[in-house]
Amino acid sequence: MIERTKPLEGELLRIRDEIHQYAIEFGLDFYPVFFEVCDYDTINILAAQGGFPSRYPHWRFGMDYDQLSKGYAYGLQKIYEMVINTNPCYAYLLNANHLVDQKIVMAHVYGHADFFKNNAWFATTDRNMMSVMANHGTKIRRYMERFGQNRVEEFIDKVLSIENLIDTGMLFETEELKRQRVEREKNALDEIAKSEDERSQALKSFMRTKDRGQKENKVKVEEDSTNQIIDRKINFPRDIMYFLLTHAPLEEWEADILGILRDESYYFLPQRLTKIMNEGWASYWHSHIMTTRALKASEIIDYADHHAGVMAMSRQNINPYKIGIELYRDIEYRWNTGKFGKEYNECDDMVLKSKWNKDLNLGRAKIFDVRKSHNDVSFIDEFFTQDFCERQQLFTYKFNPRTGRNEIESKDFMTIKTKLLDSLSNFGSPVIEVESSNYQNRGELLLKHIHRGVDLDFGYASDTLRNLYSLWKRPVNIVSKQEEQNIVLSFDGKEFKQSK
């Protein structure tokens, strides 16, 4: 990998220094950013691997790489930049970018870097992920050497099936979590140090799996004494990955891989929770830095073209860059003019309202504050106003079977806002909890889908249950609703059952 990316040199280095200075001037606060330049193939590889130069072997990375490469070859998409949430922060620039593109991208990267460092949801992410990921790769490769690539890869396939069954609440660092994190980091570093040793050493697992072993022994003792399966107390019902890690009858290497994938899943979670805020913030800053400082007269057309491309509105999708940047700007404007709070909201003189200006100039401070403490859901919930919704010409659409096309369904503010929030809540995944590990007193796993208006895709749910079964090794069930009716979907290793 080292030879695939190059550090900045020459003109780019000068540009970097310039943009860096502006970023500092505007009060952006970030870990050191290391820029590297690479070709499109390398950036496709990095993107396919979630930004990291080294991951564990898995066909899915190959699939994403396949699609990105085709997208690039056919001119459908192009990745200008990648930035990784680590300390120091790594950012990759495409070597084919124009100089003006590189400027934009660097400014954009500093925005992301600031967001990574300051947003509350990122407080617990492991900033050492570059080496942790590489270490995960080494461990899994060694498991593959020992147990066979197919066997290990098939197990990973199963775990990936439950990758989204994690608890966003775990991102808040409690004392217990902090202790776990410190231990994890220490172990990761130990592992890295040890990885030079003989191979059998590396197969020793993280402390976590040792913990697990002890816990399991305890359970076994109790099982022996009472001769029945205990309905375990479930502390974090939404962290199903953790639940299976501690309670499923897994072999040590399997548990280790499950733990690894869970760590990676939690690592990416904050980014999934703040897509709009993060992209909006970075776009706000590339725009601000470029238009007030870095842009030369000869670059304006290229800049405008690039910026407009990124901000393009689509009739099929919400563009997070666009909604994000516009919301920050709206917040800045409202807090500059004082268009917020009880007095403004309760004013019913429209003329007065539109001329409202208290010259507070709190806007900049406010958006810095917002980027610190919100995620996409609270961001939209708090700042997405009717006025904003109308100005952005947002709408919801639905397929009309009569005309055979998608048609605008509603331009109503509350409908739109509700739909937007629904699509963002729990990072767009259904909320699923462990209800019981001793369902029907037979050691079956019972999950519960907290239904919030949208049904599950039952085809996918069945396949997921099948994978869950192979982890739990006892029948698995999920309670949900289908067309307003309660429904239990079960898989006992042989067949699926649906009961009302």
Binding site: G50, P57, G62, I79, G309, S314, Q316, I408, S462
Partner: protein, 371 residues
């Protein structure tokens, strides 16, 4: 050394091929043919390679968009241009059906592996000239897509230096129209083994739509295999009832004639085509005949056997007869052929195709000898 992701990539391709292989029987018997794309690859829908997760059903969910319009206005149309400074590319579960591209070789190799088909040993010398265009030279004209930037700028620089307009302090090079250079093709002559497939089909009243569908599916896969074996391949189509005529591909599969059946008419025409266009010493010739086995008279069958023996068999690599079972057909022709040509016969392959599920077996009958 290659980046490790190439191994992930080939693993992915392997999984895809495995899926296609697993489903080959289904694709074939359902008559679902991979749709060819312009660049010689085939598109195959692949519904289940996605990792299953608990996710929302998208039934009637619709979506959200931005732009002008009133309630009831259509949403679809031009998609916004989003270069996407993607940071999380591929993390979202796609709900689009994945389509994978397989090249002809890959698809043929799947077919070959599944049916354990031997490679064909071409006969004859490499006598056929095939001309391929290789973009190895430079021309003064051409489309923009073939513009050779480096050469163009070199030309412009030469001109600027020669005309004294090149400024070393401000080394700006502006190409004029006559500086433009384009990649141009050179014709390269190669000698190839070439092959021709001559399909003959009985379209008399007794051949129904289902029978034709079987012939169509079977010939698609046969073509695919032969194409993977020969660089240049020509395909000719003959339909016949009591008389035979040469038609294009579309007519071949669509026509529904009626009337009696004189198989000899098709074989005669086939013989003429071979005589006229394909010198057996240079061409690998594959006549395929499909019918429901009804022939008008024993006399005509006798004539058929004569034509085969004297004209077609000596010229061909192998003559293949596929008998599609139909409610009306007697299947007599198969019996007549098999009476004369035993299974051990070098140049005649006979196969009965009972229904769609039997297509793969029949393909194996035809191509399994590697001729």
């Amino acid at each position: 050394m290659d980046h490790p992701i190439k191994r992930d990539h080939s693993r992915f391709r392997k999984i895809v091929k495995g899926r296609v292989r697993d489903n080959l029987k289904k694709y074939v018997s359902r008559g679902e043919m991979p749709s060819p794309k312009g660049d010689g690859t085939y598109k195959i829908p692949m519904p289940s390679i996605d990792t299953p997760r608990f996710k929302f059903g998208d039934k009637n969910q619709g979506g959200m968009g931005q732009g002008q319009g009133q309630e009831g206005d259509p949403v679809d149309g031009q998609e916004g241009d989003q270069p996407g400074e993607g940071k999380e590319v591929g993390n979202q579960a796609g709900n689009k059906e994945l389509e994978v591209d397989l090249s002809l070789e890959e698809l043929a190799s799947i077919l070959g592996e599944e049916l354990s088909l031997p490679n064909i040993e071409p006969k004859g010398k490499k006598a056929i000239q095939s001309v391929t265009n290789k973009y190895t030279s430079i021309g003064m004209t051409g489309p923009n897509s073939l513009k050779h930037f480096k050469r163009t700028y070199k030309e412009a620089m030469k001109r600027q230096i020669a005309s004294g307009t090149y400024d070393f302090n401000d080394p700006r090079i502006i190409p004029h129209k006559r500086d433009f250079r384009y990649r141009a093709s050179d014709a390269k002559v190669e000698f190839e083994n070439s092959a021709v497939v001559i399909y003959m089909m009985d379209v008399s009243g007794s051949m129904g739509d289902e029978q034709k569908e079987i012939v169509r599916t079977e010939s698609f896969w046969i073509n695919l295999w032969l194409k993977s074996q020969y660089k240049d391949i020509e395909v000719r189509y003959i339909i016949h009832d009591a008389t035979a005529k040469e038609v294009d591909e579309e007519t071949f599969f669509k026509t529904r004639e009626s009337g009696g059946t004189l198989i000899s008419s098709a074989l005669k025409l086939c013989k003429e085509i071979i005589e006229k266009d394909y010198d057996p010493s240079e061409w690998n010739i594959y006549p395929f005949h499909f019918s429901d086995g009804d022939n008008w008279s024993a006399d005509d069958t006798k004539l058929c056997l004569e034509i085969l023996d004297n004209e077609i068999l000596p010229a061909s690599n192998v003559f293949c007869y596929g008998q599609v079972e139909s409610r009306y057909g007697s299947g007599q022709f198969y019996k007549d052929l098999s009476g004369k040509y035993t299974e051990a016969h070098e140049k005649v392959i006979l196969s009965k195709i009972k229904n769609k599920d039997a297509i793969l077996d029949s393909i194996k009958d035809f191509l399994g000898k590697g001729k």
